[in-house]
């Protein structure tokens, strides 16, 4: 059977794709939904980290991932990809960014291109979740705490002890070297005294 592998016809995303799309509130019809998501995708590509309502972030993330994935897969000479980029990015300077900055940045990634966090909300406030949507590899400080530099973590404690031990050994070596040199000096002094006598 010479059947095309269906899973390779479209880009495989590294995020969960919802089985049912969210409708949102669109008095202007289904086109308005896409216009809303276009705005969000454009903002994400432009600012690399945005804060917004969770459902919209989750929805826009799928479109942004697909766009970047297509840009990596087909490059900027592919007509359909270019049209999609032209449609989804309302600010045209970002089309350059998509193909020249983001595609090379994510070329060798084997994880998703974006991250979605649940942002804190005032307590007791409204129950609607807020989200932080960001592209990986952005120049901003990380929103998750730096767990590797915590000095109380077990591997850091062990490494500190290893460092101490290594230093102690070195100091002992240096001390013994100095002693040896002092001994040598003494013997040479004695020898010179003997010769002088």
């Amino acid at each position: 059977m010479n059947q095309a592998d269906v899973s390779k016809l479209v880009s495989q995303l590294r995020i969960k794709v919802n089985p049912r799309l969210r409708k949102f509130r669109n008095p202007g019809g289904p086109e308005e939904r896409l216009n809303k998501l276009r705005k969000t995708v454009t903002a994400l590509i432009k600012h690399e980290r945005i804060e917004l309502n969770y459902p919209r972030a989750d929805e826009a993330r799928m479109y942004a991932e697909r766009l970047i994935s297509d840009a990596i897969r087909y490059g900027d000479c592919h007509k359909t990809t270019m049209e999609m980029a032209d449609y989804w990015l309302t600010e045209k300077q970002l089309v350059h960014k998509l193909f020249k900055v983001l595609a090379p940045r994510y070329q060798n990634y084997n994880v998703s291109f974006s991250r979605l966090y649940k942002a804190p909300r005032p307590y007791p406030g409204d129950k609607n979740l807020k989200a932080v949507l960001e592209l990986r590899g952005n120049p901003f400080p990380s929103v998750t705490p730096d767990t590797q530099s915590n000095r109380n973590l077990i591997h850091n404690v062990l490494l500190d002890e290893a460092k101490k031990e290594y230093r102690q050994k070195k100091y002992e070596e240096i001390a013994s070297k100095i002693e040896m040199e002092a001994e040598k000096m003494k013997t040479t002094d004695a020898a010179t005294k003997e010769t002088s006598v």
Binding site: K46, Q93, V101, Y117, A119, V132, P139, F140, P141, V143
Partner: protein
């Protein structure tokens, strides 16, 4: 004697006849007014008559509320008081989804970013984004943007920054924002196999 007996019998017969007639005509209706002699009321004293009963004597100026007509069952009372754990739980239960942040010690929900740490980060991010947009304007973006703080540009030779879009923040780098995060190149592989512990950390 015989005449008076006769009169009483006729009287009783007449009364029976009248009762049956009324029952025939109005089977479910109220009992008929009692027949009485007018002269019997004559000896009563009219001044001592009791007042007719009225609810207004009890209430006065106040209000009369509605009162429960039936007893409310125990199940219903308990359900209204404590709710239902499956549907609407009215008990105050301890919240088990709160954690203490390892970095700043503030409380936050599980799975949600710590508000104090996040506020610090997002404020710095907004400043950086504004600066980047000020720098890039509407030109096509063709290279990665590198954000540098005060005095960091002079650390490296000018050739190092060639081909990179540099955005300078006119302030000192925050102490919590590690500089290593901005270095995206990886370290050169080591030529020797022995490892010094001092280079691991």
């Amino acid at each position: 004697m015989a005449a008076s007996l006769m009169f009483r019998r006729i009287n009783v017969a007449l009364a029976n006849l009248e009762r049956t007639l009324v029952e025939l005509l109005n089977p479910r209706g109220p009992p008929p007014d009692a027949f009485c002699l007018v002269g019997v009321e004559g000896y009563r004293v009219s001044g001592n008559e009791p007042k007719p009963f009225s609810i207004k004597d009890i209430i006065g100026d106040g209000l009369l509320w509605a009162v429960p007509k039936h007893r409310r069952s125990l199940e219903k009372r308990l359900k209204r008081k404590f709710g239902d754990p499956e549907y609407v739980n009215k008990l105050i239960l301890p919240k088990t989804t709160l954690r203490v942040c390892n970095t700043c010690g503030d409380d936050h929900e599980v799975g949600v970013l710590c508000p104090t740490c996040y506020k610090k980060v997002i404020e710095e991010t907004k400043l950086m984004q504004d600066k980047i947009q000020e720098e890039l304007k509407l030109e096509p973006v063709e290279t990665e943007v590198v954000v540098l703080y005060n005095g960091e540009k002079d650390d490296k030779p000018s050739e190092f920054w060639q081909g990179k879009r540099i955005v300078e923040m006119e302030k000192e780098r925050p102490s919590w924002f590690s500089k290593n995060l901005t270095q995206q190149t990886t370290q050169q592989p080591a030529t020797t196999s022995d490892v010094k512990p001092s280079q691991l950390g």
